[in-house]
Symmetry: C2
Amino acid sequence: MHHEPINSIRAEFIEKIGLIAQAEGMPRIAGRVFGLLVFDGQAISFADLAATLQVSRGSISSSVRLLEERGLIKRTAKPGERQDYFQLADNPYATMIDRVTRSLSRAKGEISATIAKLPTTSTDVCDRLCAYADFYGTMAATLQDAFEAPDSDQDA
Amino acid sequence: MHHEPINSIRAEFIEKIGLIAQAEGMPRIAGRVFGLLVFDGQAISFADLAATLQVSRGSISSSVRLLEERGLIKRTAKPGERQDYFQLADNPYATMIDRVTRSLSRAKGEISATIAKLPTTSTDVCDRLCAYADFYGTMAATLQDAFEAPDSDQDA
DNA sequence: AAGTTTGTTCAGTAAATACTGAACAAACTT
DNA sequence: AAGTTTGTTCAGTATTTACTGAACAAACTT
């Protein structure tokens, strides 16, 4: 049994993350950028990103902007270099969770707003909407809990 | 202060759920159907669905198929009636969570597959990918935990 | 100052997805 | 059997989103 070359492993990984990102509603190229940065671990230049992923500079520009806005990567500079460099943000996963919990809480809030408008007579509607709101609320709370303890992986 | 009519509250709720569903990657009409069924709580006919939501029968057909496949609604019948009726499935939220955890576990699995291919020399790459895989793994495990106890909302 | 490198913007295109509505088949009604 | 009701399918259209690449401005180099 002989081993797959590391570059091919890397390329496959990058594509996988592109697809995962797409499934999560993110543009595929942004996912590829993120995957590349996870794999490499070190800063890569704007031009190298475009060359490695074989996409236009425009796509790199919008992808890194999105990832920066979401706090998943950071733009850095190298002394004597004119290009922008990019690397993973400090705690990208905590930031991702934060985004998810915010979204879940927003959903819960929307439903709760409807509940608040209901006349006191429609108790059954209220019950059903509460169950729905609780669903989002529990998800949000659970995820927040699980990831807010900074660096504990074990369950005690 | 006078109250908003119940029908308007209902219509707004349905639209809200349509948007939430869309944000989660589902067709908007499917979200509206789900929202309507949550609000009403009782079975509604195929034709009434189309009429209430003001969409084509084709759209209802594909929406209810999607929701059925996902186990979120069930198709029922009324004695003496030829139309199909639809109502919420028994535990739609548990089913939703199941779907989410499956998806997260799949992501973790994809990353783990890459980790398994790495040569033993690239320990730093391994570390980063493990952190990434753990992220998905923790999310999946956490959500499963939180929702698997059938009917306990309190934290003890 | 003329020319280069670098990142952004934006108009245009490509691609994916959602929705409609007509055609259809199956089951029922008369 | 002819006609109706009912749900599905599918071709066509609409809509949304992603991506490209040329034009551009800013910063740098000569």
